[in-house]
């Protein structure tokens, strides 16, 4: 604008409004330098607010997914070990059954084998009732009680609990023990039957049970493989959540955080302008013709 005359009140108003707006700018930059954020209220960046909220939400989700996946990994890892052990036990049962089906073994040999089978059955039962913390792994969703009673009867349920480890990504972290150990064939019953025919020194009947023994081993191996896949799924979910967390944090930081060097330089610049404006104003206001008459 062009000012025709320079009046005192205009000069004072100008100094007032300019020093006020420069002072506000200095305060705003000070706030950025102190907080380390260039966005200190939503209206600082209205176009980015929706994005910032979404990034924060996604970031918080990844934290949850990481924690859940880590916990799921503990459960699945334990189940993996247990099913590996179960497969090993049933493999041993297969070896004993194949050996004892041979007519060359004596009744004493078969009685000793029966004792080993009984011990394996007990081990398998104890293993199927394993828990992590207070959680029985093979009791389905009734994981607050042991999966099998002492007779080998399943007392859990068929529901298999899942844990959320990603956006709409759930992983099974509890198993229906009746499907794992009694699906195609009841492993505990097979071991009991095997013990009975061994004690009775009946190699022919041992041979008849070989098919069930093989099936019990196969179902344990299949369950072990499924658990292995679940473990791999949690691994993938963890890696994804960690990568996403880093990416989201970087993206959020680029939107919200102030560059310290830039914030400092801009503050210095604004303070110099403010100081210069005040000096010029003070100098200009002290001059006047009345001083000289």
């Amino acid at each position: 604008m062009s000012v025709v005359r320079s009046s005192q009140s205009y000069l004072f108003d100008l100094v007032r409004s300019e020093s006020s707006s420069l002072g506000m700018e200095v305060n705003k930059l000070k706030q950025q330098a102190i907080t380390g954020r260039k966005i200190n209220k939503p209206s600082d960046a209205p176009a980015s607010m929706g994005k910032i909220v979404r990034l924060r939400e996604e970031g918080a989700n990844q934290e949850v997914y990481k924690d859940n996946a880590t916990w799921a990994q503990s459960i699945i890892g334990t189940a993996d070990t247990l099913l590996g052990d179960a497969s090993g036990l049933l493999k041993r049962v297969q070896e004993i059954a194949v050996a004892m089906s041979n007519d060359t073994y004596s009744a004493e040999d078969r009685a000793a084998a029966a004792l080993e089978i009984d011990a394996i059955r007990n081990d398998l039962l104890r293993l199927s009732n394993s828990e992590l913390g207070d959680r029985y792994l093979f009791a389905g969703s009734s994981f607050d009680v042991p999966a099998f009673d002492s007779t080998g009867t399943y007392v859990g349920d068929s529901d298999e609990p899942e844990i959320l480890i990603g956006d709409d990504n759930w992983v099974q972290a509890g198993w229906d023990g009746s499907a794992v150990f009694q699906g195609n064939v009841d492993s505990f019953q097979v071991l009991s039957d095997l013990s009975v025919v061994l004690n009775a020194n009946q190699p022919a009947n041992v041979r008849l049970l070989l098919g069930d023994v093989n099936t019990a081993l196969e179902q344990a191996i299949a369950a072990h493989q499924d658990v292995g896949w679940a473990y791999a799924k949690t691994d993938d979910a963890l890696v994804l959540a960690e990568h996403l967390e880093v990416d989201l944090t970087q993206h959020l930081s680029s939107l919200v955080d102030a560059d310290p060097a830039e914030a400092y330089l801009r503050l210095e610049e604004a303070q110099m302008a403010y100081s210069a404006a005040l000096q010029v104003a003070a100098g200009g206001m002290s001059m006047g013709l009345f001083e000289h008459i």
């Binding site: 939503p42 389905g140 009734s142 959320l164």
Partner: protein
Amino acid sequence: MSLLSTLNIGRSGLQSSSVGIEVTSHNVANASTDGFHRRSIERSLPASRRIAGGATVGQGVSIGRIRRASDQLLGMRWIEANGESARSGAASSGLSTVETYFNETNQEGVNQVLEAFFDALSRASADPSDLGHRQTLNRAGLNLGSTVSRTAENLVDAISDFESSNESATVSVNRLLADLANVNESINQSGDAIGAGDMLDKRDNLAQQISSLTGATISYTDNGLATLYVSGHAVVSGVEYREMSTGQDANGDQTIRIETSGGFVDVTSVVGGEIGGTQEAAEKATEYLADLDTFAGDFAIAVNAQHALGFDLTGTAGGDVFSFTVGSEARSLEFSSSIYDDPKQWAFGGTATSGVGDNTNLQALIDVESSQLFSSGTQTSGQFLGSLLSTVASDTARASTDASQLAAHNSDLEGLMKSLTSVDLDQEATSLIEFQAAYQASAKVIRAADELLQSLMAVI
């Protein structure tokens, strides 16, 4: 040469310079007075005297009138710009206050507590029977209810403050309208030059103040009386004025009115100035509150409906997770104290006989987060609250930009106006020297005439 005439010429010079010094002193004294327009003396030549031989000789100086520096057109534009600037400034200030209730850049807001609630549900999937997870979920639910409720309460308080502010403002406006009508009357009756000038200063000053409050525009009659219009309705005309007041519409929202002989005219949507800006901030805050009510009501209904489909750790069907009162959903949103006291009541199971780890209904509750419950089935709860935050941010930023631009425009016009009308002390100092010198010179003319008369008298 007429010595007596010379004496008279000297006297007219003395008188003119004396008034000049008086006017200059008045200017200097009012250099900082708000709305003061500098005065200047307008001098004229009296009729000349014809002397022998037909020539004419001047008869000194006479004082014409005291001129008040002004530019009526510029003044009208400034008053208008002042009203617009005040409106945008008040809207910006009001919305900046409202924005603080949604400031999620450095404090917990509704978006964050909603996310924390769903995070806690997701964490519970790790072990639905775990009381620790359930208690964490309880805290998240309680925090969600109280944060939404507190934000809504803050909005209600802000709206109430805005309404109180406008109620007070209308009282001030009415006093100013009465003052302006009185000033109009004084201008009408005044014949005194400097006195009328002071009244005109008061007139324009009052018009500025009324415009600041209401966005009023002004026009002038030929004899200098102000006619003031608010939203096209005359509120001051000559010595008459109409009062402004506040009322309530059918929704209980505040309205701004101009009283008339037959009732009132509703100017809520068109009033300007601080009242209009504050009204705008109140309307925006009311819209935000309505959105928050929509969120609270629909969200609580969706969560409660899903929770009712599940069964808790004792095999009982799920009760309400959130409660609210229809009509003030956000303010009354409250997390269930029953579930808070007994976290086993979270109904995550799918059937009454489910195992403790059954999270069938928990999965469905987590899915509420991605359900498009809002904006005619196009937005999730998070997206809806995110949109609300973006709206608050963009409204506040736009109001702030408008306020800066209109304040700059107003400041330009003010500068232009003041450059024409306000006091420049250097100029007054120069005038003072000029009038002082003229006074001294006129005094010397009188002394010279006196000496000539003395000489003449001595001869006789």
